[in-house]
């Protein structure tokens, strides 16, 4: 017995009056939706992923796309997604893979937090006329200082400062590995990070030699597979990040399919061509917090204590206590990745069901670190589901020092969030290694798009701060008084330590 075909997700139509048979749609679509037959273009809508490449490239706007052209009988519990997952698994007996972030229709807490502005009793500050400081230092800060007066009367700092990253904006670019994304995509991000004086993560994919010119703006990652890690790699990075977990798939490892491992990826990752790159679920040298401490200190020893070491974890239920443990491990920053964090590939059940929203995680971690008097021991970087400058402002007001953007930086380069990254056929040249596809992304153009985005968000953040009468990012950090919760329940408000609107 067969289940038969499940309804097509999209329907593509071509306006035949407009179409001039230029065949750009055929060239654009790596999924094979279009083919020419005689004097018409034939369409196989079932292959469509809604990546929009054909629509973007059609010179006559002749292509239209409709989502869910065939409806199931509507049912509040037996949703389309639930039914289709069952059909898929009945047929394959396998775990369902999915791309990008959590697709559950849960409300984003960010959307229910409102920012403040000044009226009358204090003046708002105009960033066009007054200085506005967004410079962000990431790393350990002293909790008190020893300053000596020299016999000549000068002040001398006795306290030794730990190495910090200096970024001109609190917006950093998240770790996306070469392999998961193309080299051109990484180059675009690296050039953008250099341009706007921020930092980007390498992901667990090594550091390709063509990125060496931007290494001062790169955070190299050490994850459970240790791909691409050697002393050369560690020494080149501005900072080192140990990846324990990821918001899109807390508790499990990573999987780069062998098809994406070409000669160049293989050399950068230090693995054989065509082999699957499988990162184990845990680090097999970290079975407890004291083992993490050894790795942190080991990496610092290897790089002569000159670089900050970050530890990235997924936001899970006990995130605050875990972060407090990390703060005691000599680590310089904790990266917390919320359940909306994106990924090239994750089991759907993990992507949609495991973890916590980043808003609650930041609030809990920041409070725990303060309660224990160790907030200055680590910087807190929030990631996972940051979509606009207001999210950045809210994350910082909840207590984050800085944020990572991943998906947003890809969207800036054209990504339409189609969620098929794991198939390696990204028509925008981002999540693919196929040469004809990666050639579609010119790193110069890509870097302008990404640096424009970060620049624009940074400007908006300055305006939001100015309106709130704040001229330095430090005074927004943890300033929950400048947030109000709208349609959030009392329990959440308590966790966030935010008052409801009107209070």
């Amino acid at each position: 017995m067969s289940i038969g075909a499940i309804p097509s997700r999209y329907r593509i139509r071509i306006d035949r009056d407009q179409c001039m048979l230029c065949e750009r749609c055929i060239e654009s679509c790596p999924y094979g939706v279009f083919r020419k037959n005689g004097e018409t273009i034939h369409v196989d809508s079932r292959k469509c992923t809604a990546c929009h490449r054909c629509i973007a490239m059609c010179p006559r706007d002749a292509i239209s796309l409709l989502e869910h052209p065939i409806d199931y009988r509507s049912h509040p519990i037996w949703t389309r997604e639930v039914r289709e997952s069952i059909y898929n698994q009945a047929r394959t007996g396998k775990i369902i893979l999915a791309g990008m972030g959590n697709a559950q229709p849960l409300p984003a807490i960010f959307d229910r937090l409102l920012l403040d502005a000044c009226q009358v009793t204090n003046p708002s500050i105009d960033p066009l006329r007054e200085p506005m400081e967004l410079r962000t230092y990431i790393g350990k800060k002293p909790s008190r200082l020893e300053i000596r007066r020299t016999p000549e009367g000068d002040l001398d700092l006795v306290t030794e400062l730990a190495p910090n990253l200096e970024a001109e904006t609190p917006i950093l670019i998240a770790h996306m590995s070469y392999g998961a994304i193309s080299l051109n995509a990484q180059k675009s991000l690296a050039m953008a990070a250099t341009e706007v004086k921020t930092f980007m993560g390498t992901g667990e994919g090594g550091l390709h030699p063509s990125l060496y010119p931007y290494q001062d703006r790169m955070i190299v990652q050490v994850a459970s597979g240790r791909f691409g890690v050697d002393i050369n790699y560690l020494e080149r990075g501005a900072a080192i990040e140990i990846k324990i977990g990821q918001g899109a798939k807390p508790g499990i490892g990573g999987h780069l399919p062998g098809e994406k491992v070409d000669a160049d990826v293989s050399a950068t990752r230090m693995i054989p061509v065509g082999s699957d790159a499988i990162s184990p679920a845990p680090h097999h040298d970290i079975y407890s917090i004291e083992d993490l401490k050894q790795l942190v200190r080991g990496l610092k020893e290897a790089t002569e204590w000159k670089k900050p070491v970050f530890v990235k974890i997924a936001a899970v239920h006990n995130v605050a206590a875990i972060a407090a443990g990390i703060a005691r491990s000599s680590a310089d920053a904790v990266v917390v990745d919320g359940f909306r964090g994106g990924t090239g590939a994750a089991p759907r059940v993990f992507r949609d069901q495991v973890g916590l929203p980043i808003e609650a995680a930041i609030a809990a971690v920041d409070q725990k670190l303060r309660d224990q008097g160790i907030r200055n021991e680590v910087s807190l970087i929030a990631s996972g589901g940051i979509r606009e400058s207001a999210d950045v402002a809210k994350a910082i007001a909840l207590g984050a020092d800085a944020i990572y953007i991943g998906t947003a930086s890809l969207v800036a380069m054209g990504c339409r969030v189609c969620g098929n990254c794991y198939r390696g056929l990204c028509p925008w040249g981002i999540a693919t290694q196929r040469e004809d596809l990666t050639a579609r992304l010119d790193p110069r153009e890509g870097s302008v798009l990404v640096s424009n985005l970060i620049h624009a968000w940074t400007l908006e953040l300055s305006e939001l701060m100015g309106a709130a009468g704040i001229n330095s990012i430090e005074s927004l950090r943890g300033n929950r008084d400048r947030l109000r919760g709208y349609m959030l329940d009392e329990g959440i408000l308590k966790v966030l330590d935010v008052k409801p609107v009107g209070a």
Binding site: R370, N471, S472
Partner: protein, 350 residues
């Protein structure tokens, strides 16, 4: 708005309250008649070794016994009495002001380096947080805060401020936006030796409050000013910074300025911003902070509130308005306006 004023005699010569009352009333344009107050240093020479606790009782019969019992758990009440007050037609006496002279038992906090101060700080935080009808609004040795809801001259007459004398005075004329009519919301705010008067609104209050609370301070006054007293106490008393450096931490130079400093100076400025980023005070403010040894006036980093300094002989003046300084000292020798973030400091001559 709000009008603030401060004066210190560096030789510790006492001044009575008459002139500061007159000076503060010069700034009624800046107030609304809903709060005024004075802090005076050197006011209780006969009890100078004891902590002078000034308390507002909602009423005596319900609350005083409990407060007495709490104090006696932690030390000895050397003397206590009602603070004399004189009825004023425009001032409603909603609290009974009381003063205690208190000697903490330092054995009870033997682990501390400054057990007496820490006991008093603990008691102030505890009593004010419990809100059982008593509020400690002044707790230093040889220091008294006198404040209420009303115009400065009414508050002064209510306490007969001219009957008190001291070498350092602060005054405040309030235009409240947060807690109008509440005596606890009037300035000066005080903790141990520190007193603060403040004009402005601290937009970083949430950040500052969460920072200071992680050191065990509790913000209980519903206003942003108290946090300044606690921050100064933390930075100077507990962390050992000089007053100048504490001001540099609270109202630091901009990064653009730090970037071009000489290397040594730059390291200190950078370290202050890294360590005390959460103590940085943002928003429009002019503040005068005092302790037994000194008085420091400073503004926010872009000077969104006025502050004027003046000197005359051994006296250093600071105020929102030049007119107020001139009312206090008609023969003033030198009056000037400091730049944003630049402190006006008056120190006792040792």
């Amino acid at each position: 708005m709000c009008g603030i004023i401060g004066v210190i005699d560096r030789r510790k010569e006492p001044m009575d309250g008459l002139r500061i009352k007159k000076a503060l009333s010069q700034m009624n344009e800046r107030g609304s008649g809903e709060g005024a107050g004075y802090a005076v240093y050197g006011v209780y020479p006969e009890y100078k070794d004891y902590y002078a606790l000034h308390v507002f009782f909602n009423n005596i019969h319900e609350t005083k016994d409990a407060l007495d019992a709490t104090l006696e758990q932690w030390g000895r009440i050397v003397h206590d009495e009602e603070i004399p007050t004189y009825e004023q037609p425009n001032l409603r006496k909603t609290h009974t002001p009381w003063r205690y002279f208190f000697k903490p038992d330092k054995k009870l906090m033997a682990w501390s380096k400054s057990p007496e101060d820490d006991i008093v700080t603990y008691l102030v935080m505890k009593i004010n947080a419990e809100r059982k009808g008593s509020l400690v609004f002044s707790s230093g040795k040889n220091i008294g805060v006198f404040k209420a809801s009303g115009w400065p001259e009414d508050v002064a007459n209510f306490y007969r401020i001219e009957d008190y004398a001291g070498y350092l005075w602060l005054g405040h004329n309030r235009y409240p936006t947060n807690t109008p009519g509440w005596w606890g919301g009037a300035h000066p705010f005080n903790l141990l030796g520190w007193s603060v008067v403040h004009n402005g609104e601290i937009t970083s209050y949430g950040t500052n409050r969460r920072y200071i609370e992680s050191f065990g301070y509790q913000c209980t006054m519903y206003t942003d000013t108290e946090v300044v007293a606690y921050l100064i106490d933390l930075l100077v008393r507990k962390h050992g910074l000089s007053e100048e450096l504490a001001v540099k931490a609270l109202a630091p130079p901009f990064w653009d300025e730090i970037d071009i400093m000489a290397p040594r100076q730059k390291m200190v400025a950078k370290a202050l911003r890294l360590a005390y980023g959460s103590a940085l005070m943002n928003g429009p403010f002019a503040i005068v902070v005092a302790n037994q040894e000194s008085m420091v006036g400073f503004t926010d980093r872009i000077k969104l509130r006025p502050l004027v300094g003046g000197t005359c002989g051994n006296r250093v003046f600071v105020s929102s308005e030049e007119a107020a300084i001139r009312a206090m000292e008609p023969d003033i020798e030198h009056v000037y306006m400091p730049r944003a973030g630049e402190p006006i400091i008056g120190k006792v001559i040792p």
